[in-house]
Amino acid sequence: MSNYNFAYLDEQTKRMIRRAILKGLAIPGYQVPFASREMPMPYGWGTGGVQVTAATLTPEDTLKVIDQGADDTTNAVSIRKFFEKTAGVATSEETAQASVIQTRHRIPEEDLREDQILVYQVPIPEPLRFLEPSEVETRKMHSLEEYGLMHVKLYEDIAKHGAIATSYAYPVKVEGRYVMDPSPIPKFDNPKMEMAGIQLFGAGREQRIYAVPPYCKVVSLDFDDYPFEASKADHACDMCGATDSYLDEVIMDDAGGRLFVCSDTDYCAGRRRAGHVGAQGVALAEDAA
């Protein structure tokens, strides 16, 4: 481990990223440009999140990494191992134990505390991008608060599908000012963004960092007659029986068999350890985990 500087990046780079993070925290929802570095992983695998995590970590931190809510998928495992090797920090799969949580596409079910930081991996930070291809123009729209176009997208959804069909990366307005892309989290997670923890967003390829400080007002955009709805599969978890968590649908066989299971693996395992059993689950012994 001694062959790497702490957390892979050199100190000057971490300083530059910390400046961007502080600026982002000072202007909630504003996309701060930063000099994104080449990381030893391809773009789209969380290079932005990794750089923000590297600049945020201290040797005393405990890191948790999740990918679509799960601790045991490729992306999560390799990023966790990356920081075990380059920073030597403690890691955990338990949300409550972690001080820094890097996430791709989910917010943990368990409420975060004031001493926790949530780092998001962001593919496309610009919420207006698919409506307005010019970066010059979108920056001008942000600075002049011209957000009518965002509602045009929602209008199109209703006109086409009869309801707002956008189900992830659902645009939000932060502190009544900047419209922000919450990264591709399901809209079920949007209400959780008003939280006690610090939320940092890193987009490596697009070279942008933005942030939502604790207890910020985060409002999902909607129409008066088509209000925002945090939707999820209308089912209980088949493993732990939870009815309040976001579910993955797993196809079990060719005969149409399916299983709904919490996308947050730590939350599900915790509930099963506590004795909750879903329709298709088996009880876990106290020491099985």
């Binding site: 409506l131 002049l144 011209e146 009518g148 176009l149 509602h151 045009v152 209008y155 199109e156 209703i158 006109a159 086409k160 129409f223 008066d224 007659d225 088509y226």
Partner: protein, 256 residues
Amino acid sequence: MTPLLKVENVSKFYGNRIGCEGVDFDLYPGEVMGIVGESGSGKSTLLNCLAGHLTPDTGEVRFEMRDGMMRDTVSMSEPERRMLSRTDWAFVHQHARDGLRMNVSAGGNVGERLMAVGARHYGDIREEAVDWLGRVEISESRVDDRPSQFSGGMQQRLQIARNLVTGPRLVFMDEPTGGLDVSVQARLLDLLRGLVRKMGLSAIIVTHDLAVVRLLADRLMVMKDGQVVETGLTDQVLDDPQHAYTQLLVSSVLQV
């Protein structure tokens, strides 16, 4: 009566070349002003200066705001100017695809200006959009179709609906009938004339088509090499042209 728009000494240079130079005129409420001239005469440059798309090098463009104050739109802040162009102004481009979002439905195109000024009720926005499509003779059944599925004439009418939905007081038009065949042109002109009269709009129309200004414009300005060479009532200028270039222009029109 006070003018709606007061243009004083507007000039725009491209390096050493003249875009337009020393243009003065007043536009009164409900009046339609035509600007004609050959290609490169500076009429589009002038229109873009007036509409805030270009910043003139000299001069003032003063507009009567809703509170009755005359404000110089050249020196006002950009947010104010962009607000004006979403509310009190409208701009109809020659090519409908410059003025429309081609991948957004007709209803969304018309609704965009409403949403930009704060409309947040889907049902109301849609009702208004359908109403405006009707006024420009587009059937309600096309409200969810994209403009790319429309004919050229329909696209142009959709662009007009999209611009007029917020009830602007001043409309800028750049060759609104260019590129359309004559029967479609005639319908569009008929429609425009009706809307302008009914809504009491003021308009500035740039065109090289003298028939268009004959039909629509109350007053006419003839431009040549960036200068205004002749102004007057439309019929007067077209029937009794004084300047040599205007005489050439009028006599160049093909007689059928």
